[in-house]
C-alpha cells in the first residue's frame, strides 16, 4: 500500500471512529457506561501514544489536511443526522459549536497575539443582547448575527486604550474588571431586561422558521434544533477557514511576533497597535456572532449567563485545547461543554469531579490536549 493511500485510510478510519465515539458519548446516560467509555477512550489514547502511533497518525494528518477537514465535516454531519429528532443532543452539539466559534475568537486574541481577555463571556453577551434587542424589529436575522459581532467589536473598543497600554497580568485585570462591570451593569440597569433577562425571538431565514420542526416526510421529522446546528456548523467552518487563513499569512506572523517579542517586532516595522487592535476586534467579533446565534437558539438570556465564571470557562477551553490550536479548541470545547452535562447523574458532585478531571488532564498535558504546531504556510509545502 502506498503511503498516501495509507494516510487517507487512517484519516477516514479516524473520522469514523470519532463519529462513533461522539454518537455513543452523547447517547449514553448511565453513569457506569459514561465512565467506562471515558476510561476506554483514555486507555486507547495512552496506548497509542505509548506505541508511537500518535506520532505516525499526526504525520498522516498533517500530510492530508484537506481530507482531514472534509472527513471531519462529514463525521460531524453523520453525528448530527444520527440525532436528527433528538432535541437535546442537537442543542448540546450546537452549543459546543458556538463555543468553538467564541473560543476561536479568544484564541485569536491570546493564542496568537497574546492579548489576554478574561471578559469573553461579556463579548459573547453583547452578541446575545444584540440579538435580543434586534430580534423583534424585523431586521434580517443573518444581519442580526453580523451586527452581534459588530456590536461586540464596538463595545470592545472601549477597552482598546488600556489593552494596548498594558501587558500580562495588568491586561488581565482590565478585562476582568470589564467582565464584572458588564454583568453588574446589565443587572442594575432595567432597560435591557435587568436581572430577569430578555426573551429572544428565534431565527427566521427567508420565511423559514427555525423554531419549528422540519417535516421531511410523513414519518421523518427533524428537530428544529437541526436548523441551528447546521447554521452553527457553517459558522464553525467559516471561522475555521478564517483562523487558518490568518494564521497562515503574514498577519498571523505579525500576531506571533507581537506576542513573542514586542520590542524586536517594533524594530522590524511591525505596528504593534495595529495588530493588537485587529486581533482584539476580530476576536470579539467572533465571540459576538456566536453569542447572537446562541441567544436565538436558546430563546432567552439573562445577565447571570455572562458572569466572570463563564468567561473563565471560555478561557479554560482555549488553554485546555492548547493556545492557538484550533483543533485543540474544538476538542476542548466538546470536553468542557459536554462533560459537566454528562456528569448530571452525579448531581451536586459533578463540579467537583469535573474540576478534578480538568486538573488531571492539565497535569498530564501541560501544553494542552493538542498543542499548536509550527506554522506551515501552505499545507504540505516545505520549500
Amino acid at each position: 500500500m502506498t503511503q498516501s493511500l495509507k494516510d487517507k485510510l487512517i484519516i477516514l478510519l479516524l473520522a469514523a471512529l470519532g463519529a462513533a465515539f461522539l454518537v455513543t458519548f452523547i447517547a449514553i446516560e448511565e453513569q457506569a457506561e459514561i465512565f467506562a467509555l471515558l476510561v476506554f477512550a483514555g486507555v486507547l489514547i495512552i496506548a497509542s501514544a505509548k506505541l508511537g502511533l500518535t506520532d505516525k497518525i499526526s504525520q498522516s494528518l498533517s500530510r492530508n489536511e484537506r481530507l482531514l477537514n472534509l472527513s471531519s465535516i462529514a463525521a460531524m454531519l453523520v453525528v448530527i443526522f444520527w440525532f436528527h429528532e433528538d432535541h437535546f443532543p442537537l442543542l448540546m452539539i450546537a452549543t459546543v459549536l458556538l463555543y468553538v466559534v467564541a473560543c476561536c475568537g479568544l484564541n485569536m486574541q491570546f493564542g496568537y497575539t497574546g492579548v489576554v481577555n478574561f471578559a469573553g463571556a461579556a463579548f459573547f453577551g453583547v452578541g446575545c443582547y444584540t440579538a435580543a434587542v434586534l430580534g423583534g424589529t424585523g431586521t434580517p436575522l443573518l444581519l442580526v448575527i453580523a451586527l452581534g459581532g459588530v456590536m461586540a467589536a464596538i463595545v470592545g473598543s472601549i477597552l482598546i486604550i488600556p489593552v494596548l497600554r498594558t501587558r500580562g497580568h495588568y491586561a488581565a485585570v482590565v478585562t476582568i474588571a470589564f467582565g464584572l462591570l458588564f454583568r453588574t451593569f446589565l443587572e442594575v440597569n432595567d432597560t435591557l431586561g435587568g436581572p430577569q433577562g430578555l426573551p429572544v425571538s428565534g431565527m427566521n431565514l427567508f420565511g423559514w422558521d427555525f423554531n419549528s420542526n422540519i417535516q421531511i416526510t410523513e414519518n421523518i421529522e427533524f428537530s428544529f434544533y437541526m436548523n441551528y446546528v447546521i447554521l452553527a456548523l457553517i459558522m464553525v467552518i467559516l471561522t475555521f477557514i478564517l483562523m487558518r487563513r490568518i494564521e497562515r499569512s503574514w498577519i498571523g506572523l505579525n500576531f506571533d511576533a507581537v506576542r513573542l517579542d514586542e520590542t524586536a517586532a517594533a524594530c522590524y516595522g511591525i505596528n504593534i497597535k495595529r495588530w493588537k487592535i485587529l486581533s482584539f476586534t476580530l476576536g470579539n467579533f467572533l465571540a459576538g456572532i456566536a453569542g447572537a446565534l446562541f441567544a436565538m437558539m436558546l430563546g432567552f438570556i439573562a445577565p447571570s449567563n455572562f458572569a466572570f465564571s463563564d468567561s473563565l470557562i471560555l478561557v479554560s477551553i482555549v488553554l485546555l485545547g492548547g493556545m492557538g490550536s484550533i483543533w485543540g479548541t474544538i476538542l476542548a470545547a466538546g470536553l468542557v461543554v459536554l462533560l459537566p452535562e454528562k456528569l448530571q447523574v452525579i448531581q451536586e458532585y459533578r463540579f467537583l469531579l469535573y474540576a478534578v478531571v480538568m486538573i488531571l488532564i492539565l497535569l498530564f498535558r501541560p501544553q494542552g490536549v493538542l498543542p499548536r504546531n509550527l506554522r506551515s504556510y501552505i499545507p504540505g509545502w516545505r520549500g
Binding site: 506571533d256 506551515s376 501552505i378
Partner: protein, 261 residues
Amino acid sequence: MEQQQETVLAFKGLTRRFGGVVALNEFDMELTNGQIVGLIGPNGSGKTTSFNVLTGIYEANGGSIEFLGQDITSWPAQKVYEAGVARTFQRSRLCLELSIFDNIMIGAHKRLNHGFMFNVFKRKALQQQIKENYDEARKLLTIFDPELADKMFEPVGSLRMIDRRRIEICRALISHPRLLLLDEPSAGMTHEETRELMDDILEVREMIDGLSIILVEHEMGMIERVTDKCIVLNFGQKICEGAYREVASNKLVQEAYLGGE
C-alpha cells in the same frame, strides 16, 4: 563616484541619560554610503544605547539624528525600520517558538503585503509572495550556512547559539536596509567562526547596493579587518575617530579600552 560620498547617517550632539548615568554625551558621528564603521569602547560606554536611540527604542534627551537627509530623531521604531535601518541585538531576540523562515520573514516586513483582503482572500497571490520570499531567504541563508537553509521550517529554539546569530543577521539583511547595525555579532564565537561570519557579511554587502554598517565589537581582529573607520566611545563621549590603526595607537584609547601592551 559621487554617490559614494553621500552622508547616510549623522548624529549631532546626541545625548541620553538614565537617571544619573549619562549613557551618551554630546555624541557626534557621521557615516557615508557603503562605509563600515566600527563603534568600540569600554563596557558601558554607550554603544548599545546609541543603537537603541537611533532605532527609536529610547528617546534622545538631546541632539539630533539625521538619516538620508531626514531628521529621524524622535521617530518610532517602526518608522526608522521603514526608512531602511535594520539591527541585531546584543542579546539575541529571536522568536524561539517560530521557525527559521518565520523569523527571517519578520525582518522582511516592509516588503510584504499586510492587507487584510490580500492575506485572507487572495490566497494565490499570497502563496506566490510566500514562495518568492522563501527563495530569497534561502538564498541569503545559504551564504551563511547552507545546512541551515535546509532547516527553514524548524523552530529556532532548537538551534545552536551561533546559528541563531546568523539567523538574526539574515533577519536584518532580508529587508535590504541602507544601514545595518550589528551589536557584538561574534560574541561567543571562536576566531575561526568569527572570521567566517565576517566574510559572509562582506559577501552580502556586495549584493546589497550601498549598504552601510555600524559594527559594535570587542574582537579587535574583526574590527581591524573589516572597518573603514573606527569611533571610540568612553563614558558616552567620543574620544577618538579614525582608521583602526590610528585609533589603536591612540594613548587614550589604549588606556581606556585596549589596555597597553
